[in-house]
Symmetry: C2
Subunit: 203 residues, 2 copies
């Protein structure tokens, strides 16, 4: 059975298995053996592709970040197709909505992000850089959209684009955890987002 095989593909397959089991059993409670079983490979193989568990966790985190970015971009692309070119409001709405745990995939993302954050806060080896860097890029993007809207007269000039951008993303994170904790429904969270979109981009 040992065949010449694509290393990177194999690594992603295993990382995916980790993310899948970690989403239900918890990131800290997911062991190498479970990952191997979920991926349908032997424990030795997981060790072969990722020498240590820490390496596996880091690779899976990066994979998670990439998947999220891809989903946001895909949502924007989809919006472009089905209508007008991507308006600032549309782009911001896409980002905020994609971060809500509305379906199983997005819920998984939110759960795992929280788990990685919690873990990295006490485990210095697990720097959360990938997710943070991603978030920084998104924040700059939102601020740019706001400024563009202000120039076009679609958003009040009195807004502070940078502060609003940080607020929106912080709120997005908070709403996500609120939904996960069962404190708010997805509909409520969406209503909050729409409320602020109306405030920032008056019709």
């Amino acid at each position: 059975m040992p065949r010449r095989v694509d290393h990177e593909e194999r690594r992603q397959q295993i990382a995916d298995a980790l993310l899948r089991t970690a989403a239900t059993r918890g990131l800290h409670a997911t062991g190498m053996r479970e990952v191997a079983a979920e991926a349908g490979v032997s424990l030795r193989l997981v060790q072969y592709y990722f020498g240590t568990k820490e390496e596996l966790l880091l690779a899976a985190m990066q994979h998670l970040a990439v998947r999220f970015s891809d989903r946001v971009l895909a949502r924007i692309e989809r919006m472009k197709e089905t209508g007008s070119a991507a308006s600032p409001r549309g782009v911001v709405a896409a980002i905020l909505t994609e971060a809500l745990p509305a379906d199983e995939e997005r819920r998984t993302f939110t759960v795992l992000s929280t788990a990685y954050l919690a873990l990295s806060l006490t485990d210095p080896a697990l720097a959360i850089k990938p997710l943070v860097r991603n978030s920084g890029i998104v924040s700059d993007l939102v601020a740019a959209q706001l400024r563009a809207a202000q120039l076009a007269g679609d958003a009040p000039a009195s807004l502070d684009a940078d502060l609003e951008s940080i607020s929106l993303l912080a709120m997005s994170v908070g709403l996500g955890t609120s939904v996960l904790a069962g404190q708010s429904s997805v509909a409520q969270a969406q209503a909050v987002i729409d409320y602020h979109l109306r405030r920032l981009f008056p019709a």
Copy 2:
């Protein structure tokens, strides 16, 4: 040495020890033996007061929630003393600021809240109810302050008090994690809070 001793006090002492070690080593990685060592008691004693680890975790979470509420109330009381009676803006500012991980104690609270949230998302036995309920109360309180300010003409009547309240608390949570993740400084987060306070309560 077996003396008649206050049970509840002992339990809080041990729960405090758990919170202390969990804040640095992680909630999942903190074992019964470490808690015992930190509290300066024997492992058997921890077992005696909390039969199982799950019970200990739950008790510590409730203790954490109580300590936070107390701090918020104390901050409001302190504000009352040192000046005017608690204005709506002052109360809201106190709540939002107290939730920022600005000093070690508040940082500990934010770290542990995140850890408990992450754990409870995958461990059904660890319902996060105490923290959620607490947050719900605070949300209602903020909404009430906003409505009072609107009636007094200190806040725009166009605001939706409920949605703004949810937004503020979600933003507060998001800002906290942002600071913890090293994405924002405390000063930046405070600037964001002040920005929204100015928006909600124009001078």
